[in-house]
Amino acid sequence: MNELDFLPAFPFHFSGIVLFGALLLAGFCAGEGLYRLLRLPKVTGYVLLGVVVGPGVLNWFDQYFITQSRVFVDIALGMLLFEAGRYLDLTWYRRNPWVVAAGVAAGVLAFVFVLGMLVLLGIDPLIAALVAGIAMSTSPSVVLMVIRDLRAEGQVVERAMTVVALNSIMAFLAVTVLWSGLHLTHSVSLSSAVAHPLYLLAGSLLIGLAGGYLLLGLARLVGPRQGRQFVVIVAVILLAVGIAQVLKLSVLISLLMLGAVTRNLDQLNLREVDLLGTGRLFIIVLFVVVGASLKLDALVAGGWVALALILARFGGKAIALTALASTSGISWQKALWISVAMLPMSGSAIVLAHDVAAMYPELGAQLTQIVYAAVAILEIIGPIAVQFALRMSNEAMPDAAAGGGSASRSVP
């Protein structure tokens, strides 16, 4: 036996705790620092930190660690998507269906514009359709976190979240259907091409529904104290995420559904709890991982097409939303700010593109380049755009430094 056995072996094997702590500290500093110095959204700080320490640059936070962070990322996503779902108010949509119509129109027009533009640029139509489907979506996580950090509220906030949820669902549906189409053209059986999207949709909705009823029942049992309700809510969210993953269903749809069900079925017993305040721990990790996963070299290969995609996507949403602005009860200026707030694109787009590329390499290469590049651009400027939109529409709380009670501009 060696006399020095009590000493730790070198090199050290850092566990998850060290990883989590280091990420949290670094992310927090990056977020707060950038906010204080440049007034940029904290989310951008987290993402940029991820870019810097990730495989693209320093590679301190390499692929191994990215995989290790999976749990934290899932927890964060669960909370964010649940909160996003809680913005969906069916009573409102019943009283003012134009809000929904505007959201659907935004998704459809974005799809059409992106599809058209990509085809014009000579991209294979099926690939273009898949990209267009992905491009319909907006990242609920980014939009929600910026809203939250600015303590924003108002029509732009409420409608932006509605459009985000609608477009994410539409994108999901479009991509699953188109993917089935892809399977068909590569001669996979019709039944499995139909069964898969059906399974995904029905299964995810079911998880959301079941989880919602469970949560409401527990909330009633536990009583109105916020502390108790918080625990119950987080527990059910985590269960929903885990079960959706095991059953190979959509975490996005399940959790949106969960949030929406709890919002709409019982307003009197489930309290509003501050999920994202405590959840920030995990949310920092989420966005650092997002930053680390960005493929910046794709910008070189697919940068221009990606820019065109971004412009077409913005154009589609902006035209749809401003056209329906006054019918749905807001000014066209506010509708424009909603469109700007729709810029962020979800990192899950990368996952989708990656999956397609894995199955169909000859088609996939083009697809992934464009999507990676677009996501890279939007993960960085997206949060800034949302912050800009919320400030310009006067829905963000003025900075505390500006003095409480400063006069607001009346909008529009």
């Binding site: 409102w92 003012n96 108002g154 409420e158 009197l268 509003e272 003095g403 400063s406 607001s408 909008v411």
Partner: protein, 388 residues
């Protein structure tokens, strides 16, 4: 925030001799209601007034809808009415327009004298010169002034009549406080008061009562002295419980909490009108200074205990409960209310008095039932819409 000069007088209103009392039909009435605009997620006060007013611009509506000092408030004004039936009909119509537009924005409208859990520090001041002035001068009081009241206007044929009626009506102010009380919760706590709203009003230096002047000329002299001191520039600077409004030709009763429904608001106006008509015609009793000696005591009792509070009659020196005093007054008014068409609202008031309760107690019962103040506000919104 621009620095304010503490010695500068308030901004003066636009031209026109404000103190010229415009003759009005005796005991015509009008109602102003300050309402809460809440978001339908956590039922906290929203900042939705600008969005709501934007929509209301292009919609036809009787009466008038105006912004108030903070963005979570909105003010509903009726037109002038001779009779209760037309008033209540118009208020319901305005309410319907307001609710329909608020629905488009997913905003809730609620009555009640305070928002039960809103933190005053989170409010934003509406953009406008007078509001900015108040915010600069009064500091945190301006934000705390996010309280919601009903103002009842009663027409008077002359300034002298207005002074007379005001002093006679002062004895009955505790009635209006106790009957309308609907602000038991403030800043998330049970204040133990029936109406905690009036404590906020009382914090302003220019609150209280009109001095015991005997004629309009005497009042004008007083006003000009105050103006000369630079303390006030217009009638708006006084936050009295009852205040003359010369440009409308009315006296304005300002102590009521906004009730939870327009029907209750119309009922309170009807009571004021019937009572005012009685006081106006019955000149056998004159105003006495003693009213103002017991005024603060009676007022506190009404705010704190509502109809169960103690009332000291300044004319007879007798003590009785407030609900007994209201009942006696209702008995006095029964013939007159038949002639004026206010029997129905006064019957509702009589019923409330018999149960010795208030909307404040109703709010407390909702809290008891649901355990959360956000649910209480949820119920307030339903009550405002006319759903039970």
């Amino acid at each position: 925030m621009t620095a304010i000069d503490p010695a500068a007088p308030p901004p003066a209103p636009d031209a026109g001799d404000e103190m010229n009392f415009r003759a009005s039909r005796a005991l015509s009435m009008g109602v102003e209601l300050e309402l809460q605009i809440v978001n339908r997620r956590d039922y906290n006060l929203s900042r939705g007034a600008p969005d709501l007013l934007y929509l209301l611009q292009s919609v036809k509506c009787p009466g008038e809808i105006k912004p108030e000092i903070t963005e979570g408030m909105i003010e509903l004004n009726s037109s002038v009415h001779e009779r209760y039936e037309t008033l209540v009909e118009e208020l319901r119509a305005i309410r319907d327009v307001l609710v329909r537009q608020a629905d488009r924005l997913n905003l809730g409208i609620a009555g009640g004298g305070t928002h039960p859990f809103h933190r005053w520090s989170e409010q934003r001041i509406f953009d406008g010169p007078r509001f900015s002035f108040i915010s600069d001068l009064y500091g945190y009081l301006a934000k705390q002034f996010t309280v919601f009241g009903q103002h009842i206007h009663l027409g008077c044929p002359s300034g002298d009549d207005a002074v007379y009626l005001l002093h006679r009506m002062s004895r009955y102010i505790p009635h209006f406080i106790a009957l309308s009380a609907a602000s038991p919760y403030y800043q998330g706590e049970d204040s133990r008061f029936q109406s905690s709203r009036l404590n906020v009003v009382f914090a302003f230096p220019l609150s209280g009562c009109m001095p015991f002047v005997q004629s309009w000329a005497e009042f004008e002299a007083y006003f000009n002295r105050m103006k000369g001191f630079g303390i006030v520039s217009s009638m708006k600077d006084f936050y009295w419980d009852i205040r003359p409004k010369p440009e409308y030709g009315t006296i304005e009763i300002r102590v009521c909490d906004t009730p939870l429904s327009v029907d209750k608001a119309a009922a309170l106006a009807a009571y004021a009108q019937t009572l005012g008509a009685h006081l106006f015609d019955d000149r056998s009793t004159q105003p006495i200074r003693d009213v103002y000696e017991v005024y603060n005591y009676n007022r506190f009792q009404a705010c704190r205990f509502g109809l169960k509070g103690n009332f000291i009659d300044p004319y007879t020196k007798a003590h009785r409960t407030l609900h007994e005093d209201v009942r006696q007054t209702l008995d006095l008014l029964s013939d007159r209310s038949a002639a004026m068409g206010t029997e129905l609202p006064l019957a509702n008031i009589r019923e409330q008095v018999a149960r010795e309760t208030s909307e404040a107690e109703l709010l407390r019962s909702w809290m008891e039932q649901h355990g959360a103040l956000s649910s209480v506000v949820n119920r307030q919104c339903a009550a405002w819409r006319g759903e039970t």
